[in-house]
Symmetry: D2
Subunit: 485 residues, 4 copies
Amino acid sequence: MRTTNPFDDDKLREECGVFGVSGTDSAAALVALGLHALQHRGQEAAGISSYDGVQFHTHRAMGHVAGNFDRDDIIRQLPGTVAAGHVRYSTTGETALRNVQPLYADLASGGFAIAHNGNISNAMRLKRDLVRRGSIFQSTSDTEVIIHLVATSSYRSLLDKFIDALRQVEGAYSLICMTPEGMIACRDPLGIRPLVMGRLGDSVIFASETVALDVVGAEFVRAVDPGELVIVQGDDIRSIRPFAPVAPRPCIFEYVYFSRPDSIAEDRSIYSVRKAIGAQLAIENPVEADLIIPVPDSGTPAAIGYAQQSGIPFELGIIRSHYVGRTFIQPGDKVRHLGVKLKHNANRALIKGKRVVLIDDSIVRGTTSLKIVEMMREAGAAEIHMRIASPPTRHSCFYGVDTPERAKLLAAKFDVSGMTDFIHADSLAFVSIDGLYKALGEARRAEIRPKYCDACFTGDYPTTLTDQDESSPVEQFSMLEERVG
Amino acid sequence: MRTTNPFDDDKLREECGVFGVSGTDSAAALVALGLHALQHRGQEAAGISSYDGVQFHTHRAMGHVAGNFDRDDIIRQLPGTVAAGHVRYSTTGETALRNVQPLYADLASGGFAIAHNGNISNAMRLKRDLVRRGSIFQSTSDTEVIIHLVATSSYRSLLDKFIDALRQVEGAYSLICMTPEGMIACRDPLGIRPLVMGRLGDSVIFASETVALDVVGAEFVRAVDPGELVIVQGDDIRSIRPFAPVAPRPCIFEYVYFSRPDSIAEDRSIYSVRKAIGAQLAIENPVEADLIIPVPDSGTPAAIGYAQQSGIPFELGIIRSHYVGRTFIQPGDKVRHLGVKLKHNANRALIKGKRVVLIDDSIVRGTTSLKIVEMMREAGAAEIHMRIASPPTRHSCFYGVDTPERAKLLAAKFDVSGMTDFIHADSLAFVSIDGLYKALGEARRAEIRPKYCDACFTGDYPTTLTDQDESSPVEQFSMLEERVG
Amino acid sequence: MRTTNPFDDDKLREECGVFGVSGTDSAAALVALGLHALQHRGQEAAGISSYDGVQFHTHRAMGHVAGNFDRDDIIRQLPGTVAAGHVRYSTTGETALRNVQPLYADLASGGFAIAHNGNISNAMRLKRDLVRRGSIFQSTSDTEVIIHLVATSSYRSLLDKFIDALRQVEGAYSLICMTPEGMIACRDPLGIRPLVMGRLGDSVIFASETVALDVVGAEFVRAVDPGELVIVQGDDIRSIRPFAPVAPRPCIFEYVYFSRPDSIAEDRSIYSVRKAIGAQLAIENPVEADLIIPVPDSGTPAAIGYAQQSGIPFELGIIRSHYVGRTFIQPGDKVRHLGVKLKHNANRALIKGKRVVLIDDSIVRGTTSLKIVEMMREAGAAEIHMRIASPPTRHSCFYGVDTPERAKLLAAKFDVSGMTDFIHADSLAFVSIDGLYKALGEARRAEIRPKYCDACFTGDYPTTLTDQDESSPVEQFSMLEERVG
Amino acid sequence: MRTTNPFDDDKLREECGVFGVSGTDSAAALVALGLHALQHRGQEAAGISSYDGVQFHTHRAMGHVAGNFDRDDIIRQLPGTVAAGHVRYSTTGETALRNVQPLYADLASGGFAIAHNGNISNAMRLKRDLVRRGSIFQSTSDTEVIIHLVATSSYRSLLDKFIDALRQVEGAYSLICMTPEGMIACRDPLGIRPLVMGRLGDSVIFASETVALDVVGAEFVRAVDPGELVIVQGDDIRSIRPFAPVAPRPCIFEYVYFSRPDSIAEDRSIYSVRKAIGAQLAIENPVEADLIIPVPDSGTPAAIGYAQQSGIPFELGIIRSHYVGRTFIQPGDKVRHLGVKLKHNANRALIKGKRVVLIDDSIVRGTTSLKIVEMMREAGAAEIHMRIASPPTRHSCFYGVDTPERAKLLAAKFDVSGMTDFIHADSLAFVSIDGLYKALGEARRAEIRPKYCDACFTGDYPTTLTDQDESSPVEQFSMLEERVG
């Protein structure tokens, strides 16, 4: 597994990013750039499909966008003025090339390619019914359910078939689809996962985050609305809203960790939200100390906010190696315990004898927090205070985020005092859930219909969880499944 | 493309070989050996599926069996006491990993794996109907049609669904299928492609040719009959014949070229049949000469037969390089014409001033025959007489053999005199169609219901050719097809 | 070429790092860890040699330590209790595996392996003489000159031969050598390149920087002195000083950019020196502004120092992608100009309408400075002031640093006003040479025998430059040289 | 290890083939073709060097010529009108890329590349002396000794240095050297290994065998004489003979097995010599039998000779697989004993109940002879008579042939009766040493100065064996040797 953030072994992971463009000669090349800018949303695999007016073309690869999709020979295999792509960190479905998106099918109406960010929470129930009626699945991805629902729908037009399919699925989905007639982008009625629209010259772009628009030089137009389908056919752009309206619940963790700091969501700079959370954290949980130290790199904006609010100097107390693009598998048993230092090393001369405040964005299992605290202790810190720029993560996510099972979440096992003991810190504090909403410009979290999906902190899931209620997903999907060696 | 026979650029190609075993601990390892013995039936790709009582496992690879399936790590990924495999030279369907067999599907009844030797001649018609009803194809292989027919059949039991499917397909098929309940081997009602059954201890084996039984040390039991399904469930072996009986028409070209000389078909040694054809050729087309020279290696048995019948000495007049496992792509334009000598070289000292008879098994396009004659001429042969151990190949095959389109067949363009001119020989002669049947123990070819499928020589096809009648296969299959880079 | 720092296309490059250990069972594994910690000193290739008491073993590879030397199978090929390794960014010699160090030779006295950080400035002259006397070179590396001088020395003992060799070479060298009798570490009389000694249990370690000691959990003992040879034979450690004493001149650029911020050199924390340079820069070149923005990542410590000194807030105005371990080669001409944003993107919401101060450690060609300024301008910055934490780089380095030829150095072509125009900034300023010495605790730069080698800023080279005076190195080395494809 | 002849596990192996050309634009492409034709002389590695008038270029690769040297990109890296190449089966020196020839060195006189067929029998003695004087070896190949002798020679001109070097070496060598002044081909005074000269238009070619001339379309001119140096400088060809004349002793095993049957040596067709040996074998050792069966492929010419002489029919009783270019490593222990059948299979229907005569060219260890006899027995042969077309192989070769140590040679352990028992045959007979000379046109083997080197049969070595007399080569060469992983 590839990893780049030094401490990302203990992070929740966004599973996917999507990027599509319609109306430019360099469609696939532009998608490659856009996916590269979204690489933080999924590092296991990537894929691009293009449509040249006659045929669909697809290339998929395990690994990063760079090294796979920055080669002229690959891009030349993806001709056409319409293209869409996907980066993936697997949620459901084993990691195999046939699960890498965009998924493609030859329907009676012509080719159909789909890229999906999110997770269908009743996928297993739907799959079971489809297989009984004779559908044959080629992947173990929940996304393939949508394709079969489209293929077997009794409606006439492709658009009606597609809406028929979406009405049967529950959960989170931001989708970019390609058909011979055009590109369709859509977002589930709750808008759990993000999706934005941009323009570059005459071409229309859809992307998971605004940073991907920036990187390709495109202009941000607006977010795709929750429950909206945007249909692009050449120069014609139509919008339809086939679902009953509900209050949206976008994912709050996009602000905490998933999105890049240079993205804009709902008119807010992610960077400034994170600084505001840090400042709120300093107000709620002050401490007398000599240095504010970010846990690199995701804790840095909150640490700057905390330092500016508290007046305690911001310093680089942990130096991370630039060369952790690939995990270094340490050879030989004797040296295996030295591992963590390969990624980051205490700035010993700075820390010795000082009272330090470590700022991180979240704690999942707590294992790396423990290692960081011990590293600071070993480097001679006088006191170590850990401050976390989100509330305790107590619940699993079923909407396209890779969370460990609940039993492994530190905050599900311990209260704050127990967590403090576990990580060996002198003190530990989290921003409150209301504090988090404050940093987002709200007065507090609304009891009824809160503005965001914050189920990972509160357990308040905005949809039914059909597959969870019926059985364990692992058991179901592995039943009689073929393993491809 | 890999090639081993020095002159095989101008041969018809058998497209597939199949091998399956039920009831042994080393099932996948045994299949690997069996496929290696059948490698001459398909060199582009190979695959093995196994079933361990719970799960199916599959490994597929482009290239030869050796180098891909002789590795312990691969075989360990294929556990179970039941396994089946396939070697492939593509007929329909582009060459991509997803077309490599065995194909697999998760049906409502459980897993289903299938390996197919032959060609479904109404596959496109059937596919079009299936797609209209919502089936999604994952390959461009005609074999996948059978799987979807099984999946969508309205019969209750898997066996009934399977028979229902086979009743809808036309053409040639020798199949080995694996289901959680057992292995099914079957052969189309005309028995166009071969399939034999053997035993090794308690285990049952199915294979395209007896040589694969020899190589794994198994005993030959009998051929699977045309129109027969043999069902193996543990120790239980059942046979059913669900089709109306018709007179069989096995492929006569298996005797001419496809099968290995050490195989036995219908109680006849392929080697002795080829010698008999050579002897018949000497009787029908004698010539005064000094040397009989086989075109290596496929012409050798017939050349020995011709030499023994005629009394003219058999000599190695063409030396083939051992190192042509991979085509040598000659670099540089200036030397490109030297190509043919890399594979085989005239034994100059032997040939100079002599009248030579070259014996080959067949002529397809005639291009390499021309090169061989010129090589002999250049080496100083006084006279060059070409004798061919089969009748002129005038028609395409639609039953699982790779034939060039008719317009490229030398015998479809010219009569024997024109062919002689084309290849620059002093004389050229073919064994007659009746002579070929004589070498097989018949008095002559029967006008009505001849004993073999000899359509490539006679144009007398034993089935309807639905897809051929409707349109060109190329056009149909490429319509809206996705290209995987 | 691999690159990690987003703007490192325009940096001087340290060419090498070395690491050796004597007296532990896991010698090669420890060297792999140490080299990983020194990866910033050379990313093109790496090598490790070990000695098991009987035989020497070597593995070399192009690319990073991770991915090449973190595999158990590789480490198992490197048995023994003594090992040394090298990371390389090529200075002299083409990039080919045979140039990757450690270099090895079978001498009459036994095996001899050598890892070299630095550059021999009379290598061509010496090589020419050696070849005339019959020596055959296997690499184009300057380091091989040392081996041939040892092999052909007329002294008796290996140590005498080695000292005889070193007395003939000019330039910079920190060396780790392995012989059957023990490990020898040494540093040239001026101590231009760094080399430190540490301890881990009973074993002795030599490394280019202290960070490598930290990472393997070793204790820092002391620097190897300029002109000192340290000889380790089992438990015995001896030190000899065979050169006439001269005032040392360690490289000042190690403080500016080469060394990792968490290393300690001559009792100074690199991080704190860089902060001090930033503070000095603020004193010398103040500016009224809203934000201090580091050019990531090498400008960050100086930016913190500048911000703390000036009271202007430190903010992340440039967001760098985590996924630039490999350069993304942008496919398609149309999108090629978008390149720079893949690596780093302006934090638009933060910058718009603000007066910003960009802090970088140095300017070499000026090309990326121009891009950064333009990116800030495009993001809406009101004013852009560039401040550089080193004096203008006006001269090439001949001591093991990859510098562009003088004509390409921006500071060799323009004065500060011209440079300001070139990069399109509103203002540009450098710390003064005396200011740099001040940050290092000196009153100012001494006219006579300054404390550091600062030739890249001043042109004051501490050695003769024999090869430079005689001819161009390119011309000499390519003469009749064999190219290995 | 790659193997192609089905039974070649038990053959002596020629270690090398060489091919050089001077005076054509496509020099390297032509060398690639020539080496491909000489592939049977060495399958482990290959290399080509070219000289473009300014620089030497070299590419070396493990494995076959095809797949490595048939790529345009490789050939383009080898520009120039002069080129030489080498195929190698390692004799002395481990198998590593740096041992692959041509070897190259930068001498004071310019570049020097050398390709060597043979073995220097005093290489270790010479190497020891050279290392003592300061020479550093980069390979473990005996050939490098020649280069260092040239480099350190005190003569003035390169030609004098080269002759000085050759006068110091003992053993067998056919060499092709390239210098900036021209190409030098030479053969040791005894002419142990072959070397021929040809012409293609204006260019001059040197090759190990005439078949390589045939394949590239060149005309055979003459053999390079034993003790002759041929120097090609542009259009100028000079010949010098710097050694005292001695009676030549070319290797007799070239006729028995090494050379291709379509080569010509000393005006004799190898194919016709082998047929003559087979006929002589039939005269000396007749047997009543039904079939003559060649052990494929090397036994075939002798089998044809035996069959023609005896009147017993020649038949293909052993069918070899075309797909043994790579050894098939049989997975799983249970099936490992099935191995031999993968390569060749008894033609059961032919053999059953028959008295068969197996013809092979030689027996080395006897292990595969045993397997073949058992395969025939198992296929139902009534009697099995083995006839060998060479005398018993009783002695090792030290002139560039890979022979097992004497203790493993079947003929060194047993007399013919014991050998017959060992291989389980009904009878076994060899052609006599005088019979072998007869087939070569001599009356008998001369006691004094026999016409060929036949040491492997007689133990009569034509040179002193310095290294053998002093110690074991294994011990010497591994002393302090570096292993490259």
